[in-house]
Symmetry: C2
Subunit: 118 residues, 2 copies
Amino acid sequence: MTTAVPAAGSRDLPHPAREEIRLEAVLHALSDPMRLRIVRELAAEGGELSCSHFVLPVTKSTTTHHFRVLRESGVVRQTYRGTAKMNGLRRAALDDLFPGLLGSLLAAAERQAVRLGG
Amino acid sequence: MTTAVPAAGSRDLPHPAREEIRLEAVLHALSDPMRLRIVRELAAEGGELSCSHFVLPVTKSTTTHHFRVLRESGVVRQTYRGTAKMNGLRRAALDDLFPGLLGSLLAAAERQAVRLGG
């Protein structure tokens, strides 16, 4: 049996394989203002950012929840590097499954932020 | 005081004005498989469809809930015509606020439906 998930050490976190990612889950993940903000920052960064990089106006446990939703929906990949939990957008997977969607979503979020002065 | 909502009769349903529509609410509305299916059918139709047109594998009250979420997020406009509640996509508003987004979302939904045989 083959699996798209790499061989897991005990600290590896579960991720959906590319073909398991569902549009509805991606949209749900992006339907929260904090999660949308995280995704915009990751897109602007282009690489990985640690969870602790993000200073959000919510509790630490809520922040952890938001990253879990993003990971379980297939929007971000979370990887431990030493003691840091790093996050990166799964751009290749999302662009392959839904060409153009992530770009449209980020453009819409940017446009709204400008419009609302956010 | 002016308002973007037309003068309301007692049977008119509340809708967000164009400038009140939020990306997060639109994405939440589309994050449910039944609501995504409704929006795809409305897009394919191009015009209005009555609630009773949709035969969904959920209860009538759940169907009513889904249409309310779509209306309150600004995705559809609901209008009474006699005894029928008609639904139409708010394409102009969405395209104005988020150019290209609705098209990308519909394309992504279509692509996923083909991929999963839905």
